[in-house]
């Protein structure tokens, strides 16, 4: 389970997130929607501490993943990022073979047993619905794959270190419709084993894949509820206006 309590976040002087509190249950898909610059990606990147890489940021409040405040003193960030995997907007496989891309997370965590790595690579590729397409060319460069396949490879790469949470930052926005629908099917499958949080610009996508949806605007969490309710009968007028396309 993931929880945020009274999160305020600043980029230098810019107040990017304003008092966000929410809870995401295990084995559910939560979608964040909202116009560009609303803070949804910033909020997502809090949970694997990716914002740490940006100089001049400041955070108050608590971020709790599996019962632990991940910003507490003494938290090992590398360990956290194993536990909370991430898939980025643009597929970013490494310039290595398909096999080595998936094995990377294991290797940097000190796993050397070849049998074990081979097995985990197969599991992960199968988990990302890519195994059948690549099983005969594992030694080929990851760049020979199509954009959609590359994105599924990045998902497999994240799965290989056995995270409990998977963060997805607009994972399908650089892909064609067929690849997009494959990623969406995959999200349905992955929900059984992982807690998934997805940021998307595409409201139909949020409606299709998620159990709960949060609507962000100008750093506020305007509304957070079951996806069905959000799209059929939102509480706030702002939400209604955004969903029906009156702005954004």
């Amino acid at each position: 389970m993931i929880q945020s309590k009274n999160i305020d976040f600043y980029y230098s002087d810019f107040h990017a997130l304003k008092g966000i509190s929410m809870e995401m249950e295990a084995h559910t898909v939560t979608a964040f929607i909202g116009p560009s610059g609303c803070g949804k990606s910033t909020f997502l990147r809090l949970f694997n501490r990716m914002n740490d890489l940006i100089p001049g940021t400041r955070l108050t409040g608590e971020c709790i993943v599996d019962g632990r405040d991940i910003y507490a003193r003494g938290v090992n960030v590398d360990e956290l990022r194993k536990q909370v995997g991430m898939v980025f907007q643009k597929p970013n496989p490494f310039p290595k073979s398909i096999f080595e891309n998936v094995a990377y997370g294991l290797r940097v965590n000190g796993v050397g047993d070849r049998k074990f790595i081979e097995q985990r690579v197969e599991e992960s590729l199968a988990g990302a619905a890519l195994w059948n397409e690549v099983k005969d060319k594992l030694k080929k460069s990851a760049f020979e794959l199509s954009g959609g396949q590359q994105q599924r490879l990045c998902i497999a790469r994240a799965l290989a270190v056995k995270p409990s949470v998977l963060l997805m930052d607009e994972p399908a926005s650089a892909l064609d419709p067929i690849s997009t629908s494959k990623i969406e099917e995959l999200i349905h499958e992955l929900k059984k084993d992982y807690t998934i949080v997805i940021v998307t610009h595409n409201m139909q996508q949020a409606a299709r894949v998620s159990d709960k949806t949060g609507f962000f605007m100008l750093g506020d969490l305007v509304e957070f509820s079951d996806t069905k309710k959000m799209f059929l009968n939102p509480d706030k007028e702002q939400t209604q206006n955004y969903i029906t396309g009156r702005f954004g």
Binding site: R81, N92, V108, A158
Partner: protein, 284 residues
């Protein structure tokens, strides 16, 4: 005059200037080859100078220059690559880094004779290494350090951040990310820095003048504390202060030709390396 004619004239001027540059290079090369090819034979490449340097070969100088190239690269590369990793990957863009950058650029602007004097005072005298391959390599290494740092920095900056964040997001440490993802990708461009440095090192005379180069030393070095002859200095000697300048003239051209060919071979080797590794890390 129409816009179109103007563009045509500009285009022809640019093209002409481009051709002039190529022309000058070919002229120099042709001149050296024309005058130098005559003395090049097996004996010239494998024997020591004789007859007050008006006869024999230049083998000791070839060996000496190769030793100095190797030695200076061993000195400059680890230091240069590691400081570039520090400034681009670790240090951010604070005051300290900007100071280091400015100092690096200043170091690159210091005339090479100053490096020669500095090397003599520090390595030869203070540290007591004497005129030696070691002293010469360190002096030449310092000389090319700014070049190595700059080219490595550019190579590292050219790697998109998405590869770094991708690696960090999998729980890799910064050091693992640099070693396993960033450096392999930057390697082809770092090799380009190596090529440039070798070209620079093999042609320098001033830094080796007081630190390693021997006027005449027919025997080969046996260790890093030996003196050696070197091609650029040998060329300088037989062109200006030999016993019989006129009869040594063809040997001077021959020496110049050998120097150019050595640099050329290094460049070809480096570009083969570059292509080999470039293929392995090609991005989309």
């Amino acid at each position: 005059m129409s816009k179109h004619t103007g563009q045509n004239i500009a285009f022809w001027i640019f093209r002409l200037l481009g051709l002039i540059v190529v022309g000058i290079l070919l002229w120099i090369l042709g001149f050296i080859i024309w005058n130098g090819i005559g003395v090049i034979d097996w004996e010239f490449l494998t024997e020591a100078p004789t007859d007050g340097m008006t006869g024999g070969g230049i083998f000791p100088a070839i060996v000496g220059t190769c030793c100095l190239i190797l030695g200076s690269m061993i000195v400059a590369f680890p230091i240069g690559v590691m400081s570039a990793i520090y400034t681009t990957e670790y240090a951010g863009n604070g005051r300290v880094v900007r100071f280091i950058r400015i100092m690096t650029d200043n170091l690159g602007g210091i005339p090479s004779i100053i490096f020669g004097l500095f090397g003599m005072s520090l390595f030869v005298n203070t540290l007591g290494w004497g005129d030696s391959i070691l002293a010469g390599s360190f002096t030449l290494g310092l000389l090319v350090l700014p070049l190595v740092i700059r080219t490595t920095e550019e190579a590292l900056k050219a790697i998109p951040d998405s590869f770094r964040t991708g690696s960090l997001a999998l729980g890799a440490t910064k050091l693992q990310t640099i070693r396993r993802v960033v450096l392999p990708m930057a390697f082809p461009n770092i090799v380009t820095g190596l090529i440039l440095s070798i070209g620079r090192v093999s042609g320098e005379t001033a830094p080796i003048l007081f630190t390693v180069a021997a006027y005449f030393l027919p025997k080969l070095p046996t260790g890093i504390f030996d003196q050696v002859m070197a091609l650029p200095y040998h060329l300088y000697v037989i062109a200006t202060s030999g016993t019989d300048l006129e009869s040594a003239r063809p040997i001077a051209y021959g020496t110049a030709l050998v120097l150019i060919v050595i640099v050329l071979i290094m460049n070809i080797l480096a570009s083969i390396l570059r292509r080999y590794f470039g293929k392995k890390v090609k991005t989309n």
